[in-house]
């Protein structure tokens, strides 16, 4: 494995297998996947529809459980955790950015950002929140309701929410899926900058080669297996690999 190794990986899967359904009708979404996402880097997971990329993200982020094998975040084995401990882990060590921005309509942008901290019963670090807002360019939007924000602004609020607890790793599921190209590129550049400047780890699922080209490393999935990977990719190389995989 090439690239700069900075200690324990942010997220890992060993022999991760996920089977949906039982016996005859069962579908193997993940087939003994072993993969590791380094800390302080921007990783992308790609693959055609049905390749298992979303399932992999769900399982290594603790949203879903594995049929066999194990998933780790910052060295912690998720399969050993109870429901409560998993919740606590999501609250403190993991950040999520979804395709649908999924902000709570009842809360202001600022409150949405602080939500994970408040849920933990802590006071938000005002300086950190201000810093995030500044970096993400939403300082003057903090008192608005989600309905009053544009799609790009909503997604930037969602990113801020994902980062507010200084998580071990941020998982992003098609974060640019609902944005137009320009807004999408701006958001990806922001994510890349956060990785570079703050040493944040990001794992992103996408089907868009342009989006994936902002990452440091791309892992390709096909039929529930890791089949390839690219380092410091460009959009053309990614598109080329994808076409090769699908043929």
């Amino acid at each position: 494995m090439a690239g700069t190794d900075t200690g324990a990986p942010a997220a890992q899967a060993f022999e991760a297998t996920k089977v949906f359904g039982i016996s005859d009708t069962s579908v193997c979404a993940l087939d003994a996947v072993t993969v590791s996402f380094e800390a302080g880097r921007f990783s992308a997971i790609m693959g055609p529809s049905g390749s298992g990329k979303s399932t992999l993200l769900h399982c290594i982020s603790g949203l879903d459980s594995l049929s066999s094998g194990s998933a780790h975040i910052g060295g912690i084995d998720l399969s050993a955790l109870s429901e409560r401990e998993l919740t606590k882990l999501r609250r403190t060590k993991v950040g999520f950015v979804f395709q649908g921005f999924n902000l709570l309509p009842t809360l202001t942008a600022g409150e949405n950002i602080e939500l994970p901290v408040i849920l933990d019963g802590n006071r938000p670090d005002a300086e950190w929140v201000a810093h995030l807002a500044r970096v993400l360019g939403i300082t003057d939007r903090l008192h608005h309701r989600p309905a009053q924000l544009s799609g790009g602004q909503q997604q930037r609020v969602a990113v801020a929410r994902a980062l507010v607890n200084r998580p071990t790793v941020v998982f992003a599921d098609e974060p640019t899926g609902n944005l137009d190209t320009r807004t999408g590129v701006a958001l990806l550049e922001l994510l890349a900058r956060i990785v570079e400047e703050d040493g944040q780890s990001v794992v992103m699922v996408t089907h868009d080669p342009v989006a994936a080209s902002h990452s440091d490393r791309v892992v390709f999935l096909l039929d529930g297996r890791v089949v390839d990977e690219l380092h410091d990719p460009t959009a053309e190389r990614i598109a080329h690999r994808l076409t090769a995989l699908e043929s």
Partner: protein
């Protein structure tokens, strides 16, 4: 389109079940009331018809002004009327009947049949076809110590022929032997009463009518119409009598007996209205939410070419089907409840009949119609909303549940409509007459007020929630904060959900306030006005302060025996009904020399003691509206039904300050008995003479009333307790009925919460994904429900306080003089409201906690 409609039913089965329940409860209530009242009326009417089937013409004396229930309300006929009637051509047979109060005394000295007004003694005349009964077993009485009993009482007591029984009437207890059992021509009871038959002379003696009959009944020769014979009889006996055809006599007899059927239809109507209103609100809310949830689906229908009107009709059609189903279920439920209630009351020995339940077409029709119409009306607005969903919604990812800011127009219409509603409620509450109109005014006003509140809710609800929900974040932290915010998020929905609870709680609080005010008022009145130590009334009569309705006559011998006691001051009291310058009223005939020792009259203008012959005294409250002044002469006519008796000019002798409306007019007994010889003794007021201890007085009263088990002795403390108990039991009954409305409202909260959980699946999943624990989710949803419940209950209590105050002001001249607010009870209501919210939220909360997190990420 219809197919789409029906498919929708299957998908939302549970939701619709709740809609059905909201309507069915109300309809069941309506149906049960109808069936029970109809059944009782029909039973009595049919039994009266049978009893007097062979009577062609009946002759009665004029109606007595004492207005006692039962046939004894008429002045008696002299015996020679019978002789005259017999000679009328066309009369085949005739006989006189004596009818009055007679009741069996059990071995323990307690009256059999309790305090019912339907204990009757009757003479057994020589003509079998004119008797209201037939002989079932044994023989008819032939000597003065023999009696026949109705079959139902006979069987219920487990007696045998030849059994000795004790009977009380206007005379003290006497022993009789049962020689026979009588029954009506079809059923075991006769006229729904406990009936005792005596020989004619014995009946005349027992019932205090020697030489007189209560009624003369005659049969006609074949083929002669009743009314022809009636006019012949009328011209033969001359004026001063009431001549009825057999069928109207049967009807009058049934009406008298029906007076014993408890009806408080105005209250039942109001309760029914409240339940339906609450049900309608719940339905409105559920349908509105369903429309929001089905927005995509509806927009898709529009995309593929459905007309607006088709969408509109599909929603209404769906609701009509549900309305009919729910009403039918409610009807069935109501009939079942009526059957159960009837069995229960039969078991407890109340008046019964072998007739089955009377389910009239009206009951079925009205129940179905009212239920369906309510459902459709409640879904009109949501249906319009549904038809306005733009087709693009199918393509766009709308932020679901986002509420448009309230416009100025909304606020203005809200204020206007709400104000109109409040005005209507006030008008309805303050109007004095016409109960039906009042109820419609109040009901309509409430509906308008709610509509206005709905429009204003974006303005009103958030601050309320913020206030009531203030402790939430402090109690449960972040989830509490979120729950409170959620409740504020859609103020209109929160208002509609809480609105149902507001109505229920407002009415229950209103009742609590009226109950405690009535108690306080009656206590202060009793303290001020009644100084008598004891009061003797008929056992079947409520306490004196109730007025003439339900009053039964005491035997005059009780008065004589009490007056013979040396240690007592005794004052008779007779209720009188009269017309004063054309206005109906009632008051009492009293003994001027003793009455002021029993009742304190406050400041006087003139003197009650000096009540002259042909004069009367009046309370300030009654005098003011009639502009009466002392010394003035007015026309007073004792109420009787014969126009031949004219009015008498009487002078206002005194105006006194104290006195509630029951004793608002006082005449002297001498004056009244001259005008109406049949004046009946309603009560005897008693006071111990100076130097006689209350224990001695009690013993004296007891010995004087010994042998008259129907004479009930009350002391003032007992009057107060029985008054309190009466009010409390009535209020409790109505509160219990209103609890139905509250249950429907709570179901509404369950429903709203369940629907918002479904609606917010994605939101809940996000919360779970960013680290909200299951218990925090439960806390959030239950917190929201609790806030809604508490706000509903708090608003209800405030509204109830206002209504209670308005009621008390409106009724202060009618005896509700004191306003007493039961604060603890009201606080309990608010806490209970929050608690029901918590309970109502528990199921939806558990469901919310189980939401699949992956739903948050699944991109549609």
């Amino acid at each position: 389109m219809w197919r789409v409609v029906l498919r929708n039913h299957q998908q939302h089965a549970l939701r619709l079940a709740l809609v059905c329940l909201a309507i069915a409860v109300g309809v069941a209530f309506l149906a049960a009331t109808f069936v029970l009242t109809d059944t009782d009326r029909a039973a009595i009417a049919s039994s009266a018809d049978q009893a007097y089937a062979n009577v062609a013409v009946a002759v009665q004396g004029p109606f007595s002004s004492s207005r006692l229930p039962g046939l004894a309300g008429h002045i008696l006929l002299p015996e020679d009327v019978l002789t005259t009637v017999r000679r009328v051509s066309g009369v085949s047979q005739a006989q006189g009947e004596v009818d009055g109060y007679a009741q069996l005394v059990g071995s323990n000295g307690v009256l059999i049949g309790g305090n019912t007004s339907l204990a009757r003694g009757i003479s057994v005349g020589p003509v079998p076809s004119l008797r209201p009964f037939v002989l079932g077993a044994g023989r008819l009485p032939s000597t003065s110590r023999e009696v026949v009993v109705d079959a139902q009482t006979f069987a219920a007591q487990g007696w045998h022929l030849g059994q000795s029984v004790r009977i009380v009437s206007d005379l003290p207890i006497r022993a009789f032997t049962i020689v026979g059992v009588v029954r009506s021509r079809q059923t075991a009871d006769v006229l729904g009463a406990t009936l005792l038959g005596f020989t004619v002379p014995e009946a005349q003696q027992l019932l205090g009518s020697e030489g007189h009959f209560s009624v003369v009944l005659c049969a006609s020769h074949r083929g002669l119409p009743e009314d022809v014979l009636a006019s012949r009889v009328a011209s033969a006996i001359g004026p001063g009598y009431e001549v009825l055809t057999g069928s109207s006599f049967a009807r009058e007899s049934a009406d008298f007996s029906s007076a014993g059927v408890p009806t408080f239809s105005a209250v039942l109507d109001a309760v029914f209205g409240v339940i339906m209103l609450v049900g309608a609100l719940v339905i409105f809310n559920i349908i509105s939410i369903l429309v929001v949830q089905r927005r995509r689906e509806l927009a898709l229908l529009r995309c593929v070419g459905a007309w607006r009107s088709q969408i509109y009709r599909s929603v209404l059609g769906e609701m009509a089907v549900i309305g009919v189903l729910a009403s039918a279920a409610g009807l069935g439920l109501g009939i079942a409840a009526a059957a159960v209630l009837r069995n229960v009351s039969n078991g407890s020995g109340a008046q019964t009949s072998a007739a089955g339940l009377d389910i009239s077409p009206r009951t079925v029709l009205v129940s179905l119609l009212v239920g369906t119409a309510t459902t459709i009306l409640a879904s009109l607005l949501p249906a319009i909303q549904a038809s306005r969903v733009p087709p693009v919604s199918a393509l766009r990812q709308d932020v679901i549940g986002e509420v448009a800011a309230s416009s100025r127009r909304w606020r203005v219409t809200g204020l206007v409509v709400g104000g109109l509603g409040v005005a209507l409620v006030a008008a309805g509450l303050l109007a004095e007459q016409g109960r039906a109109a009042e109820i419609w005014l109040v009901g309509g006003g409430m509906a308008l007020g709610l509509f206005g509140l709905g429009r204003l809710s974006p303005l009103v609800v958030p601050p309320l929630i913020a206030l009531v929900g203030w402790p939430l974040p402090r109690l449960v932290g972040a989830p509490g904060l979120l729950g409170r915010k959620n409740a504020m998020h859609n103020p209109r929905r929160t208002a509609a959900t809480a609105g149902a609870l507001v109505i229920g709680v407002a009415l229950v609080s209103l009742l609590a306030i009226i109950a405690s005010s009535a108690k306080a008022s009656s206590n202060s009145q009793l303290d001020q006005s009644l100084s008598a130590g004891f009061e003797v009334v008929h056992t079947g009569t409520s306490p004196l302060t109730d007025g003439p309705s339900g009053s039964q006559a005491l035997s005059p011998r009780v008065l004589q025996r009490l007056q013979a006691q040396p240690g007592l001051t005794v004052s008779p009291f007779e209720f009188v009904t009269f017309l004063l310058d054309g206005h109906g009223g009632y008051g009492a005939a009293v003994d001027p020399s003793t009455i002021s020792k029993m009742i304190s009259f406050g400041t006087l203008q003139g003197s009650v003691t000096a009540l002259s012959h042909g004069g009367f005294a009046v309370s300030v409250q009654q005098a003011a509206p009639l502009h009466l002044t002392v010394g003035e002469h007015v026309d007073v006519a004792l109420v009787d039904e014969l126009p031949s008796r004219g009015s008498t000019e009487m002078q206002v002798d005194a105006i006194y300050a104290q006195g509630d409306h029951e004793s608002g007019f006082l005449f002297s007994t001498a004056t009244v008995s001259e005008l109406d010889p049949s004046l009946a003794l309603s009560a005897v007021l008693i006071r111990a003479k100076p130097g006689v201890s209350s224990r001695e007085a009690e013993a004296a009263v007891a010995s004087a009333t010994k042998g008259f088990p129907d004479a009930s002795v009350l002391n003032v403390a007992a009057v107060r307790t029985s008054e309190d108990q009466r009010i409390a039991s009535q209020i409790n009954l109505i509160t219990l009925l209103l609890a139905l409305a509250i249950i429907v409202a709570v179901l509404g909260i369950v429903n709203t919460m369940a629907l918002s959980v479904v609606e917010r699946t994605r939101e809940l999943a996000v919360l779970r994904a960013v680290g909200m624990s299951r218990s925090q989710i439960v806390g959030m949803v239950q917190g929201e429900a609790a806030v809604i419940g508490a706000v509903g209950a708090a608003c209800g209590v405030v509204l109830g306080l206002f209504l209670g105050w308005a009621f008390q002001r409106a009724l202060s001249s009618q005896g509700l003089t004191d306003l007493m607010v039961p604060w603890t009870r009201l606080v309990v209501y608010v806490v209970a409201g929050a608690a029901t919210g918590l309970v109502a939220g528990s199921l939806p909360a558990r469901r919310a906690a189980r939401v699949d997190m992956l739903a948050a990420i699944a991109s549609e």
